[in-house]
Point group: C2
Chain length 118, copies 2
Amino acid sequence: MTSTSARELEHPQCGEIRLEAVLHALSDPMRLQIVRYLATLGRDGEAPCSAIDLVVTKSTSTHHFRVLREAGVICQIYRGTAKMNRLRREDLDGLFPGLLGTILDADAAQCRRLGDGH
Amino acid sequence: MTSTSARELEHPQCGEIRLEAVLHALSDPMRLQIVRYLATLGRDGEAPCSAIDLVVTKSTSTHHFRVLREAGVICQIYRGTAKMNRLRREDLDGLFPGLLGTILDADAAQCRRLGDGH
DNA sequence: CAGCTTGTACGATACATGGCGTACTACGGT
DNA sequence: ACCGTAGTACGCCATGTATCGTACAAGCTG
């Protein structure tokens, strides 16, 4: 077999990404928290699932990452024992210019307004 | 009683509008269709529920309008036998600058891409 | 190899959601 | 007073979602 190691994950292609799915994925506080964190890493920054301190069990966490991946919001690849997560900024901006940024700004505004310790 | 007629509807105040709820409200195709339509009416344009041709029964339609209202996306008032709907653009733009516009643009882009007869 | 760390898979559960139908209310016109 | 139009309320049902726990798999590292 070619060397593109096992443990590949399914990702929607750009053309398959649906706005409704993206909005739905981002409409959950926990998933928004994940995206907010990934966004702080800058272009192409990536982080393992464990980098984000979610207050749920691992299986629930896996579930939320999966929803984000299947909606086309993040891209996940295995790197050793970890699974790295990265925002699909380029793809999203290509399809929906400014959407991700605007939502992140809105989220930041709301955190500020509600006094959430970002 | 004062003349502020009966049949008033509950609307979240600006401070109560939550980003997650707004995104959730907009993550349904039917609700997005409603918002898309209201957006074509221009600032302060309003339309009765019946103006939008949804392919569901009246009760389901009522349900979707209610979700939009409770999320703070639209404002509804009774006018005679009709119930008029209006986008809360000002309020939303105040809280989340550019959000509504960007989502509408993204939706338009997707409709174009998928060849939806808008 | 043995054990630790990461994360998955699967089943259970509780609740939310979207859809329907039917019965009802409120208002305007005749 | 009556009818038609617009929309609500409520109950029902099927499906989806968020959560958990337990059992497991894949890689590092000693």
